[in-house]
């Protein structure tokens, strides 16, 4: 019986740096697995979600990987850049599937180099490029006189988009101003004083969790219009409530998933399980965009598994899973995310994002799902992935 299950290994950082997102994602995975299992599993095979904590320590991440590997897991998700990096060479060697949406190295979307890595969703590079495209749109298609500020956590996560932004600023002729903020992002006063002085048209923000809250306070103090602030996708309801729903009105967010509870699949979970208190965790976590993020990640994975078993039959293998992933086309998890089309070359699925605005109660999409500057982004990806080679 137990050989019959499909196991997903979630080695998450549930206790250190990524706790703002991992509980929601884990809960989404468990809910979705429960729902799938209640409805006959994947072609009759139940899904098992195994959650472990690695505390964002590479050491423990590797341990978790090896242990779950022995237990027969070959689809992994680590939700941490350092741990994903630490496990990457092993997973590539062992030819195991690494789900890597939204974290880890951006060039991993290059399926030709990172054959076993599936960062379905936009890379940070693509997301930043899409943000620039949005600004260009707002400024009537011309960026040559524009000034764009980039406020970021001074740490690999925040530094990631700098290169692409530089390239774009050369291409489009806008002025790029960088405002690094030291970890953990709580001290931004001098950055915003400079922003007030420089008066950029828009500020793109690569901050996390509390960082947005601090930024909103600084914006008020420095009288910077909040509707010129484009947050990275890591910006959720908790942050909104910490800022104050009213105060946050007008703030922008680049995102790759549809937020809110009216997304069909989220509604389904609420109605099926949470209405009777049978969810895998507290309902409060469901009312969070990161829950939707988790739904997006795992509905894609489950869909890939379904295709794999349907096409190649049982047992599911890393190879069949990989092939199935690479055959996903226009999949959008019933509206929870941007439609993705994964190919052997592009494991990212197209990199579509959209810009949403908080209207005081809800996120309102301002644009459609789209991906811009693909050529430039891929140039950077190729350049970077070239330097990686598994030996």
């Amino acid at each position: 019986q137990s050989e019959e299950t499909i196991k997903f290994g979630l080695c998450f950082d549930l206790s250190k740096s990524y706790t703002f997102v991992t509980p929601q994602v884990a809960q989404a995975a468990q809910d979705l697995a429960m729902y799938t299992n209640d409805n006959g599993g994947i072609e009759g095979h139940p899904i098992e979600i195994i959650v472990r904590d690695h505390g964002n320590e590479p050491q423990r991440g590797v341990e978790c990987y090896e242990q779950l590997k022995r237990d027969g897991v070959f689809i992994f998700n680590f939700m941490s850049t350092p741990v994903t990096n630490a496990v990457l060479p092993r997973a590539m060697n062992d030819e195991n599937i690494l789900m890597q949406s939204f974290v880890g190295r951006g060039d991993a979307v290059d399926g030709e180099v990172f054959e076993w890595v599936f960062p379905v969703g936009p890379t940070y590079w693509q997301q930043a490029a899409n943000d620039v495209a949005f600004i260009k749109d707002q400024l009537d298609g011309d960026l040559s006189d524009a000034k764009i500020g980039f406020i970021y956590l001074d740490y690999p996560f925040g530094q990631e988009p700098i290169e692409i932004l530089r390239t774009l600023s050369e291409r489009e002729g806008f002025e790029l101003e960088l405002y690094p903020v030291p970890l953990p992002g709580s001290d931004q006063s001098s950055a915003w004083s400079s922003i007030r002085r420089d008066q950029p048209d828009y500020v793109i923000s690569w901050l996390l969790a509390g960082g947005h809250v601090v930024a909103s306070k600084e914006m008020r103090r420095n009288r910077f219009p909040i509707d010129r602030y484009i947050a990275v996708n890591w910006f959720n309801e908790v942050d909104i409530s910490n800022i104050g729903a009213e105060e946050a009105t007008g703030i922008l967010r680049g995102t790759n998933v549809a937020g809110g509870q009216e997304v069909p699949i989220v509604r389904l979970m609420l109605d099926t399980y949470y209405a009777d208190g049978n969810g895998s965790g507290p309902e409060s976590l469901v009312r969070d965009v990161y829950y939707n993020t988790g739904m997006a990640m795992f509905s894609t994975a489950f869909e890939a598994a379904r295709i794999a078993v349907a096409e190649d039959g049982w047992p599911l293998t890393p190879e069949s899973m990989k092939t199935a992933y690479e055959s996903l086309s226009g999949f959008d998890g019933d509206g929870v995310m941007a439609p993705v089309t994964v190919t052997p070359e592009d494991h990212g699925g197209g990199g579509k994002t959209r810009i949403e605005q908080w209207d005081g109660e809800n996120w309102v999409p301002l644009t459609d799902w789209s991906a811009d500057y693909l050529d430039i982004v891929w140039e950077v990806i190729k350049e970077s992935s070239e330097s990686f080679s598994v030996e």
């Binding site: 703002f20 001098s190 103090r221």
Partner: protein, 295 residues
């Protein structure tokens, strides 16, 4: 040279610096009263913020009630820590005590988060975020409030260390054995210093919580707090205040010059450099006591 901008950087730096002082005063208190370098101060700060939050949000108490009750709880916690963890290590080498406080820090953080979860929560003190103007200079109100608290605590503790109890605490820091021999209750003294430091930690936690939200990032204040404490002289309350202001200014103004040169993030570098330079050039800091060492 943009003088207005520079003075704004300096003033805001000084205010932020005073908030570091708020944190550092707790360190200094314990060091002054028991020669223990307390690396658990960050953990205590977190606990303090969460306790107040739990009282205010989960129990629905008004802030003016939650804060004093929180203070009482923290006071008790401080005594408890001395009783359980430090009493047995009295007189042991500094390494062990250092490790003990580090262990305590990890324990306090783990426990707090296991109880309340890691999601960032906001501390609403009701301080407005509209800027305060000083000529053309923008100043943040919450920072002014924090600075006022820091200075208030500074005055209170300066007076405290002149009282007989204060002198006894300093005596304890000098020599446990001699203190016992003249009937000073070392345990109670050290406990008192931890209790007071815990209350100070709560004050820091509440103010910082309002500024950056209540989550484990609060524990990252440790390096800055330590730098301030060392720069001021580990056993000098006045030092903690002056050094806080200094560090705040150096950091804020320095980073503005350096960031464009080194590609960002020079703040931590500046803090680390200040710490290293202080220790190398003037280990006892600006106002700290000198070691009396004789061959």
């Amino acid at each position: 040279m943009d003088w207005i901008f520079l003075s704004e950087l300096a003033i805001n730096g000084a205010l932020t610096g005073l908030l570091y002082s708020l944190f550092a005063i707790g360190l200094v208190l314990i060091y002054k009263a028991s020669s223990v370098p307390n690396l658990a101060q960050a953990g205590l700060t977190m606990v303090g913020a969460y306790v107040v939050l739990a009282l205010a949000r989960d129990l629905g108490l008004p802030l003016w009630l939650a804060i004093p009750i929180g203070a009482v709880i923290m006071f008790g916690l401080g005594f408890g820590i001395e009783r359980v963890a430090l009493r047995r290590l009295a007189g042991r080498p500094v390494v062990m005590i250092l490790m003990m406080t580090l262990g305590l820090d990890i324990f306090l953080r783990g426990t707090t988060l296991a109880i309340w979860g890691g999601t960032s929560r906001s501390m609403e003190l009701g301080v407005s975020y509209d800027p305060l103007f000083l000529g053309d200079i923008f100043i943040s109100r919450i920072h002014v409030v924090g600075a006022a608290v820091a200075i208030g605590l500074f005055v209170a503790f300066m007076l405290f260390f002149r009282t007989r109890t204060g002198i006894k605490l300093r005596a304890i820091a000098d020599d446990y054995m001699a203190s016992w021999s003249v009937g000073i209750s070392v345990e109670r003294g050290v406990g008192l210093s931890w209790a007071l430091a815990s209350v100070v930690a709560m004050a820091a936690g509440v103010i910082w919580g309002e500024i950056q939200g209540v989550d484990q990032a609060l524990s990252l204040l440790l390096l800055k707090g330590l730098t301030v404490a060392v720069l001021g002289g580990l056993d000098s309350i006045l030092g903690a205040v002056v050094a806080g202001i200094l560090l705040g200014i150096i950091e804020n103004v320095g980073a503005d010059f350096l960031d464009p040169l080194v590609g960002g993030g020079s703040r931590e570098l500046i803090v680390a450099a200040v710490l290293i330079l202080t220790v190398m050039i003037r280990p006892h800091g600006l106002f700290g006591r000198h070691d009396i060492e004789r061959v």
